[in-house]
Symmetry: C2
Subunit: 93 residues, 2 copies
């Protein structure tokens, strides 16, 4: 079963940021420069976190993970030029 | 009753971004360069959105609003150098 995660980052090093972008692009959609939304299983999420953490400088960088339940996904609002999901194969609790 | 909102933005114009920062700082806490968490009432949220939208260039800029219910707030995870809330006067549904 897939779940909806919002992942935001502040990464100072360009090379590391590119690597993190790549990992997130493989698992989700970029919705802002440093914000991705991933609709993935919990197992995929745990694995993704493990891989992302290797690229973080714990003094300067940060990643925030927000899980959104079905209700909170329905409450997402946007203003301006921002992509939205086509919920293809999506089952959210 | 206060609710937990995550507000992320991509704003190209420096002056507008500063103004948006100011509005968000008045209502919440910066948790990343372009991500704020606001624990505010729904009325305050509606007013904040109305004020923020004035500063958006709908071609280049974007703001995303995520409401987090109590469960989703408890699921917030972070890695690296990132502030956390002290839930002072906080009641979340």
């Amino acid at each position: 079963m897939k779940k909806h995660y919002v992942i935001c980052y502040d990464i100072s090093d360009d090379r590391k940021r590119n690597k993190i972008d790549q990992l997130l692009k493989n698992k989700g959609m970029r919705v802002q420069k440093s914000v991705f939304e991933c609709i993935i299983t919990e197992a995929e999420f745990l694995k993704l976190k493990d891989r992302l953490v290797k690229y973080i400088d714990f003094d300067t960088d940060s990643i925030r993970y927000y899980f959104l339940c079905k209700h909170c996904v329905e409450m997402i609002e946007t203003a301006g030029n921002t992509p939205t999901h086509e919920e293809k194969d999506l089952t959210i609790i």
